[in-house]
């Protein structure tokens, strides 16, 4: 092999080397792990969205109920509102327990159920 041929040979080797990435294969199970991660995220997103919608509906229904009761302005209803305002911590604690239970039931338990099923 003369020097020109050897040079061409080396050039080919360098070109080939730059077109290869030999020891760096994608880890086995990469796609499965990724799809699992994606499905987990999608499930969380779906459950949280549903929870937010249901919570929004409940709050809207309560707000409408409060307006219906408040506007006629009867004494008994006004006294009920003043009682609720005075004892706001009972209302806040009840709301917190309700939404925590609701979240646990609608999001967390459903997520665990779907995870076990899959």
């Amino acid at each position: 092999m003369n020097s020109k041929e050897r040079h061409e040979e080396l050039k080919t080797i360098l070109d080939e080397a730059m077109q290869e990435f030999p020891e760096m294969q994608v880890p086995p199970g990469f796609t499965d792990a990724l799809i699992h991660k994606l499905e987990t995220r999608l499930t969380w997103h779906e459950l949280i969205t549903e929870f937010a919608l249901k919570t929004g509906l409940i709050i809207a229904a309560l707000a409408i109920l409060a307006l219906v009761l408040f506007f006629p302005g009867k004494d008994i209803e006004l006294s009920m509102f003043s009682y609720l305002i005075k004892n706001w911590y009972i209302v806040a604690a009840s709301a917190f327990i309700f939404f925590f239970t609701f979240f646990f039931d609608q999001v967390f338990l459903r997520f665990l159920f779907r995870k076990n099923r899959s």
Binding site: S3, R6, H7, E9, L10, K11, I13, L14, D15, E16, A17, M18, Q19, E20, F21, P22, E23, M24, V26, P27, F30, T31, A33, L34, I35, K37, L38, E39, R41, L42
Partner: protein, 192 residues
Amino acid sequence: MDDFTLAARVREGNTHAFRFLVEKYKNLVWHMVLRMVSQREDAEDLCQDVFLRVFRDIGKFRGDSKLSTWIGSIAYHKCIDHLRRNKRDLVVPVENYTPAMLSKVMIPETIGDLDRAAIKKLVHQIMEAMPLQYRTVVTLYHLEGFSYREIEEITGMPEGTIKSYLNRGRQIIHEKMLGLVPDIRMILFETY
């Protein structure tokens, strides 16, 4: 299935289509991320983040460019963000590039050891030790076969800069080969 149809299926939330997309482009993303980040332990998480971003943003893909270019662009910017967060040097000016940066390259003991596989291994080691901008451009051009225009779309670098990095990258490989294995000068007497 062509890329536009594939993107449309993924946009509908079809996870089977997304699996197909991942299988098709995982090597591209893996090579890019590994070459840019150089740390295997970070690379897998970054690759997953790239594909999760692809799934989230697939609605923004209008088909103006190739899907591979669009995914490559997401991978490139994810890596840059990662390197920035970890405060690693993003761009090393040419004048600051010293042979000390090649200290981790394993030099064959004798010229007799320098067979075809050994030369390739040496080239890979030199490439891994090159500054980020060179190894990114060389990887995109040589390994993934992107054109200058596509590399411009991926990295946002002007075409002139890409050509300059590519030539300088090749030059570095040649210079380092000559510097590390002086006997090779006998057969490598001109640059290409």
